[in-house]
Amino acid sequence: SPPLSVSPAADPAVISPQDPTLLIGSSLVATCTVSPDFPLKAEDLYWTLNGRRLPAASYAALGPSTLSVALARLNGSRQQSGDNLVCHSRDGGILAGSCLYVGLPPEKPVNITCWSKNMKDLTCKWAPGTEGETFLHTNYTLKYKRRWYGQDNTCQEYHTAGTYSCHIPKDLALFTPYEIWVEASNRLGVAVSDVVMLDILDVVTTDPPSDVHVSRVGDLEDQLSVRWSSPPALKDFLFQAKYQIQYRVEDSSEWKVVDDVGNQTSCRLAGLRPGTVYFVQVRCNPFSIYGSKKAGIWSDWSNPTAASTPRSERVAGGCDPKGGEQNTTLRRELKQFFGWVKKHAYGCSNLGIKLYDQWRVWLQKSHKTRNQV
């Protein structure tokens, strides 16, 4: 239908109420009053809600140029920008519109969890309280204050670890209890979560250990030695790290965890299968920061490092003789090749069987992601 031509300065009509906010289930009577400049009468008008024509039975003429519509038991808004209630002239042209915001007040946000990376900052995440939807745009504000010190602070950097998260980058005191809470607000009201109390030192996490090396133990077929460095960020603080190792066979997705590593930076894995490639990861928990004896939060796992156990020349009762033999022959040849390359080609000193193993790790990872997509 052809649009109205550009109109004079006044709007063609006025709707009341304009952009109201309503609770789900409530009813509404809206009126459309045509401006005196326009030669339109009440019977020339009709209403639509979100593009759908409303039944004439719900209309009533309240004056020569005023038409009302009755809406009962409203559902939650179809979109967060508001339902579009529009007053039209007979030919379909738009005279005026009003956005209806129909929904529910927010519920208390829940499950606030926080962590500090190397005692420098604090990131918190939470979940919205509502099981269903509020249908209205809800704003979340994370607030925090030092207990007994009065002043509320507001977190500014949102969505750093998912939608419902916030990051406080600085000016945090240690050995100090903080009160943290989240306020949810929308057009219909505000809801405040329960207050969480914590000390930064209670929720410290760190980077994964660096320089993870996995190597053979001489000719021992069933062992591998793992070495790593403690994460550099925490070396200034008095703490004891505890570590965990997990490892798996190349073709398996089942990780074995070594829990009792303590605070050493090396460990020997035993009881392994000969002639097998293993992937190994290490993670760190900054335990007992400043002597507090409390556990921190485990870091992410380090990137997987690969190594293989040796296999002696004589045939051990292996499960996959064909596959295993092919592997061994390939590896032997590769080693010989790399040795030759080192001698005869300059600048290739990084080539080695270790690099080949890292490539195997990468191959498996990218194969997995390709399969997931």
């Binding site: 952009d19 339902d83 519109g97």
Partner: protein, 219 residues
């Protein structure tokens, strides 16, 4: 997808620095290449806008996202630079005038889009809008570069003027939705027509680099 666009934008931004006369990279780049780049950016923005507009209009809800939606253009909405000029009139303009009109229009459209970005509800929309604004900023710079390489002066005044005085924000939410609809619509038309403009300009400008400036001046 995204990385190609950002790459193009960065190229456009880096290679078109009209503020540094000593380091006029566009001269080395050649007007021809500059125009090609601008054309490519325009097409990329057209593509991006399709997705952005689709998402945004769904956010506004029906009837805004209906294909035949054609609301009245109220007088207040005329502050958005309109692309619907008489086509013969448009073609009759000089290259300089056409380029200047494009430069000014996109600068203002960028302003309005940035305001939109500040108000929009969902994170996805904010992300898309931010990305689009960055690309559009690249287009403005790119057009500036083309004008420099052809020896035309850039339109006077700030590249991105503040909201023009006497144009108040929409008095109610529904009228604001209409403003947003027209902003996207005009943007669509501008980009569609700019692509044609740059395509035609490409054919006019010879590939030679050195004598380019002199030839352009005599145009």
């Amino acid at each position: 997808g995204d990385s190609w666009g950002i790459f193009t934008f960065l190229c456009a931004a880096l290679c078109n620095l009209p503020a540094l006369p000593a380091l006029n990279c566009s001269e080395e780049l050649g007007a021809g290449q500059s125009i090609q780049q601008t054309y490519d950016l325009t097409r990329y923005l057209e593509h991006q806008l399709r997705t952005l507009a689709g998402t945004y209009l769904n956010y506004l809800g029906p009837p805004f996202n209906e294909p035949d939606f054609n609301p009245p253009r109220l007088a207040r909405a005329e502050r958005v630079p309109s692309a619907t000029v008489d086509l013969d009139l448009w073609r009759g303009l000089t290259d300089n005038a056409r380029l200047a009109a494009n430069y000014r229009a996109y600068s203002r459209l960028l302003c309005y889009l940035r305001v939109l970005d500040g108000q929009v509800g969902t994170a996805e929309l904010r992300h898309r809008l931010a990305h689009f604004c960055a690309s559009l900023q690249g287009l403005v710079l790119s057009i500036g570069g083309v004008m420099s390489s052809l020896g035309y002066p850039l339109p006077a005044g700030p590249a991105a003027p503040p909201a023009p005085p006497g144009a108040p924000a929409a008095p109610n939410d529904f009228l604001k939705k209409m403003d947003d609809f027209w902003l996207l619509k005009e943007l669509q038309t501008w980009l569609w027509r700019s692509a044609k403009d740059f395509n035609r300009l490409k054919k006019k400008v010879p590939p030679a680099v050195v004598t380019l400036r002199l030839e352009a001046r005599g145009f």
